[in-house]
């Protein structure tokens, strides 16, 4: 699955799509693949504030629990309701319909250190090489 070039990516395998001062956040195709069959998503409440680098939710597959880290600080303005009833959407459309939350950014400069698509692809390729070594 291609990594959208307009997104930015974290080392914890989240993607961020910024429009104005709102960032939409999801987990990457690599992340969903590592997790396997997703069965449960715990998102932060709308209106709660999140801090860059701190966990703000979890995605669980049958065999694993994965913490989600906030890529930037701000206030949660929306959580994807679809994922409460159909968490498995994360496996089929991680970069699109299965976004997790939208965050109103309090400090957009925090996003400066994130990877672009090409950098993230190289980062993931390195991980895959380690895994198959």
């Amino acid at each position: 699955m291609a990594y959208p070039t307009e997104y930015r990516y974290t080392k914890e395998h989240e993607w961020v799509n910024v429009a104005g001062n709102v960032a939409t956040v999801g987990i990457t195709d690599y992340a969903q693949h590592e997790l396997g069959d997703v069965v449960f998503v715990e998102s932060p409440k709308v209106g709660s504030s999140v801090t860059a680098g701190k966990t703000f939710g979890t995605v669980e597959s049958v065999k694993a629990v994965s913490e989600i880290y906030a890529p930037a600080s701000g206030e949660v303005v929306e959580a994807n309701p679809e994922l409460q009833s159909n968490p498995e959407k994360i496996n089929t459309d991680p970069h699109g319909a299965a976004w997790l939350v939208k965050i109103k950014l309090s400090n957009p400069s925090e996003l400066a250190g994130l990877m672009d698509a090409a950098e993230y692809e190289a980062y993931v390729a390195e991980k895959q090489k380690e895994a198959s070594a």
């Binding site: 396997g36 069959d37 449960f40 669980e60």
Partner: protein, 392 residues
């Protein structure tokens, strides 16, 4: 997820089918020092594998399991006496060609390991043991059979062990062997030609709660790959899937089969684990017997129970259980979403007073309490002709 003791700085061990798993694109994990497939994402992954075994057929590479043969020494009877001493079930009840679930115990009545004891011949037994406890087990068997007139041989590396599991397992395997499988009952075994290999051990055993077979073939790569490929080919019409340790774990959990370092360990005794029916106190002696009889007389304080989550939240291995007050009362030994039931299930040790079906307890998930209730086990029981538990 797994019981695995990691062996840092040591090369991971590989089964003869390692490159087959990698060619299939399996996700590999370190399981007890072994490089093993946890799931095969390209053919659907864990849930698809789980469902294949419940509804059709799946095949697992379980060559990491260990095998110890105990056979007669100078005079007949020595091997049986040795097996009777080191295992809690009654091996004297086995006919040739029959197997039984059993366990090797410490003098304290806790577990060295659980084992399947097969009676191969007149005074000849094969003990199939867990991967993570192989070295410990073989040392234990050698040490504790020294006084007996028997020969102990470790055969772990001689076999590639495949588990073909599911309601269509017999259909698949029958295409590959001349041995009639229908007469082989649950927890019995036979020998036959499989894929042209003479005298292969074919046991109607498994770790999935489903009908199925485990076969033991020579462990060289060429033979192992040939048999694996033949099984996959024979199973194609039934939708066979290669299955990894992930599905093996959810399948065995639904069937409430114990996993070492989870439901059983060196600090949990047979009574607590609910496995008393496999401990034969009418045998005059076995290691752990006296301690278990004393524990029986004294009564146990904790019991293994099945839990189902009532509130949203998934209990996982190692999570704490507590009373409504928040007081800690026990621990989850294995927990997972159940692919068959579509509910979140777990096994846990709780105070015996709180072990009756319907009791509400809470599970601590990331600092929050989620309600669960004690439910009957096994969580899943297959509809079938033969009995659902291995012969006592």
């Amino acid at each position: 997820m797994e019981s695995a003791t990691t062996s840092i700085g040591r090369e991971l061990r590989k089964t003869a089918l390692n490159s087959v798993h990698r060619r299939l694109g399996a996700k590999m994990v370190n399981f007890g020092g072994w490089d093993m497939p946890v799931e095969y994402p390209k053919t659907g992954g864990l849930v698809a594998e789980h469902k294949a075994v419940r509804g059709g057929v799946g095949v697992f590479d379980v060559s990491h399991m260990g095998d110890i043969r105990v056979r007669t020494g100078r005079a007949p009877g020595g091997a049986l006496a040795a097996v009777q001493h080191i295992s809690m079930n009654d091996a004297a009840k086995l006919a040739i060609g029959q197997a039984q679930y059993s366990a090797m115990l410490y003098p304290s009545g806790t577990f060295v390991d659980d084992v399947i004891v097969h009676r191969l011949g007149e005074d000849d037994y094969l003990l199939v043991i867990n991967a993570g406890t192989r070295e410990k087990d073989i040392a234990w068997v050698r040490e504790n059979t020294r006084a007996f007139d028997c020969v102990v041989e470790e055969l772990s590396d001689a076999y590639t062990q495949l588990a073909i599991q599911g309601p269509r397992a017999a259909d698949v395997l029958q295409k590959l062997t001349d041995a009639p499988l229908a007469p082989v009952r649950n927890y019995w075994f036979t020998h036959g030609t499989v894929c042209g290999l003479a005298n292969v051990l074919i046991a109607r055993t498994g770790y999935t709660g489903e009908d199925g077979f485990e076969i033991y073939v020579p462990s060289d790569v060429a033979t192992s790959e040939m048999v694996w490929n033949a099984v996959m080919e024979a199973g194609r019409e039934f939708g066979i899937l290669a299955c990894g340790l992930g599905a093996r774990n959810t399948l065995r959990l639904e069937a409430k089969m114990a996993l070492y370092e989870h439901e059983i360990s060196d600090s949990i005794n047979v009574l607590e684990a609910g496995l008393e029916r496999y401990a034969k106190f009418e045998k005059p002696e076995f290691i752990g017997r006296d301690a278990l009889l004393a524990a029986k007389a004294a009564g146990i304080t904790r019991t293994l129970v099945g839990l189902e989550m009532v509130e949203r939240g998934i209990a996982r291995d190692g999570y704490d259980c507590c009373a409504e007050s928040g007081a800690a009362i026990g621990v989850i030994t294995s927990g997972s979403p159940s692919p068959t039931l579509g509910r979140n299930i777990a096994l846990a040790y709780v105070p015996s007073a709180m072990s009756s079906v319907g009791t509400e307890i809470s599970v601590v998930v990331r600092g929050q309490l989620y309600k669960a209730k004690v439910v009957p086990t096994p969580f899943y029981k297959r509809a079938r002709k033969t009995t659902s538990v291995p012969a006592d």
